[in-house]
């Protein structure tokens, strides 16, 4: 466990807690209050708790960093011991996932999904291009049939929307 990341996390929580507390305290009270706390009482309490807890955790982590160094005994779920791990790959998946979601309305499910699946498999060191293509396209087609055709979920079609509407595969969404 990298204590610097742990420290950064606690500091973020502390700042978030402070932000919630200040926002709650400064929020205008409603015209009529039915209870002791009001709409912002509990958030203010939780924000204060997070600020104090985050500060405490930051101090503890900083002390351990000074005493024991950067790498510490994992407090969370450890990786499998025998294999190398890559935090940047996990972060890449997160960023890639959000990127995929944001571009979905433009690219559409049928174009964006195979690209995303292929990129993800390649990132996981899956090095069989033909199999990747087959898996990406095959999954996309099956998922489209199951969700769009059978379960009537209107998946975003983006670039292929007009073509599929003209072919009668999907109905035009107004």
């Amino acid at each position: 466990m990298d204590r610097r990341v742990d420290l950064a996390g606690s500091l973020v929580i502390m700042v978030l807690g402070l932000g919630v507390f200040v926002t709650s305290v400064l929020a205008p009270a409603p015209q009529r209050l039915f209870d002791l706390l009001g709409p912002f009482g509990l958030p203010a309490f939780l924000g204060a708790g997070m600020a104090i807890g985050g500060a405490w955790q930051s101090v503890e982590t900083f002390r351990r960093l000074r005493r024991w160094g950067v790498i510490g005994v994992p407090e969370g779920t450890p990786d499998e011991a025998e294999y190398p791990s890559s935090a940047s790959r996990a972060v890449g998946f997160m960023v890639g996932g959000v990127g995929y979601a944001v571009t979905l309305p433009f690219l559409g499910f049928l174009v964006g999904t195979p690209i995303a699946i292929a990129a993800a498999l390649w990132a996981l060191r899956f090095r069989r291009p033909l199999f990747i293509a087959a898996a990406a396209i095959g999954y996309t087609v099956v998922a489209f049939i199951v969700f769009n055709q059978l379960l009537s979920v209107p998946l975003p079609l983006g670039l292929l929307n007009d073509l599929l509407v003209n072919l009668g595969v999907v109905e035009r969404v107004r």
């Binding site: 929580i13 994992p74 998946f93 498999l121």
Partner: protein, 507 residues
Amino acid sequence: MDAFFGPLAGAFELLLDPRLWLLIAIGTMFGVVVGALPGLATTLAYGLVLPFTFAMDAVSAVTLLLSVTVGVSYGNSIPAILIGVPGTPAAVLTVLDGYALHRRGETGFALGLAYISAAVGQAVSVLFFIGAVVPLASLAYYFLNPEIFALYLFGIVAIVSLTGRNLVKGLLAAAIGLLVGMVGLDPVNFVSRFDFGERILRSGLSLPVVVIGILAVSELFRQARQSFQWKAGGIVDARFPSFKKVRPTLPAMFVGTVVGTLVGAIPGAGGTPAALISYQQAQLISKNPKLFGKGAPDGIAANEAAQNSANSGELIPTLGLGIPGSGSMVLLLAALTIHGFLGGPNLIRDAPQLLHAAVAGMLGGTILLLITGWPIAKVMLRVLTVDRSLVIVLSLATVVVGIYSINYRIFDVVVCFVFGGVGYFMLRYGYSTAAAALAVVLSMGMESGLRRGLSLFENDVVTFATRPITAAVLILAMVFFALGLRRAIRADREARAEEQAAREGAS
């Protein structure tokens, strides 16, 4: 007696529907496959199946989800015995004795024992479940707002105290979850909070989206850190054990069933602690305690019976009190919320068909496994030849489509990934994702209980807190907190000793 046999009769009536059996078959087989793949737990299985349940009625949804649980709890013993890797953490002790028996050439005995213990533990614990949850439902009339608040607070404190090594981090995770649940309209004044002027946030964040992100997507991100392939064994040839060989393990099986149901009923406990405790208890009563860890049949029997019976145990607080017993139960409650059912002591009273569905799912899954479990065990080994990377990526893709299908919003997919990232950080750095997810689900009910309760008693906090059931539950919460604090202090001491030892080893 009617209160006990009523749910059983209701479950059997549901099981007359062939459509429900189809769902049970799909759920159980899917659960067995997920359980057999190391690292993919019940929570992830629920995360993958959950979006499909939104297109179903509540009874079908509950039946499907619980049959998945039955499948996972059986499936996780297969790789534990055959390749020495537990399918889920609850099967870790099955590895010790099961894999040892496999290496000695007694594969059939180990697999058969796991199969029988799973079925017995599951079937018998369903009866305990009905016996416990029905009286709880009758207490619903005594649960007003103060009691609901105390119950939800207890649920969160219990899960924080029992999971993770760092109590402060557990409380912070719960606080984050509670705040996330407060985005949108407050339950009393209907004032919009933390919406940053965005209309889309005024109705709050979708509960299942956030919970699936924190519990399931985070785990997939964590799995993506490493690229490797599961070890697969060769073809297995094993004979089903005779009753004469199994009979001596019956006491251990019974201990496992009872302990599993009881421990599973504690919020935050679940299958893994249930299995560990029953393993210890079985060793205490065993005629050959020294054999434990080296191929003791009693060890397998106790462990498997416990982790399977814990499924029913977890359902007791989930359906009886509205406090999810584990991460997967959080998702079950989220599914019920989507169908318009509010978790709480009134759930069984207002919707008894959900109790029947739960029993039908568990019993149906168990009956199906009794018929197919033995041949499946050998076939499941082939599942491990599927590429792990493919499973991770396609699971993520399925979650994305499933999340989109809830409200047809790209925003939900983005939220899911964002909370997947938050959950990933929590998983890596010791913040309890179960506590955060539980707090998200209980947040609105807890705040509503607190504020409406105060309003009901004219803001008299003393009267609020000293109502008998409220006071008893709050005291129980404090006891659990104290236990959690003691556990955290001990864990901290151990961590310091580990650090010291590591430094000395390095120098």
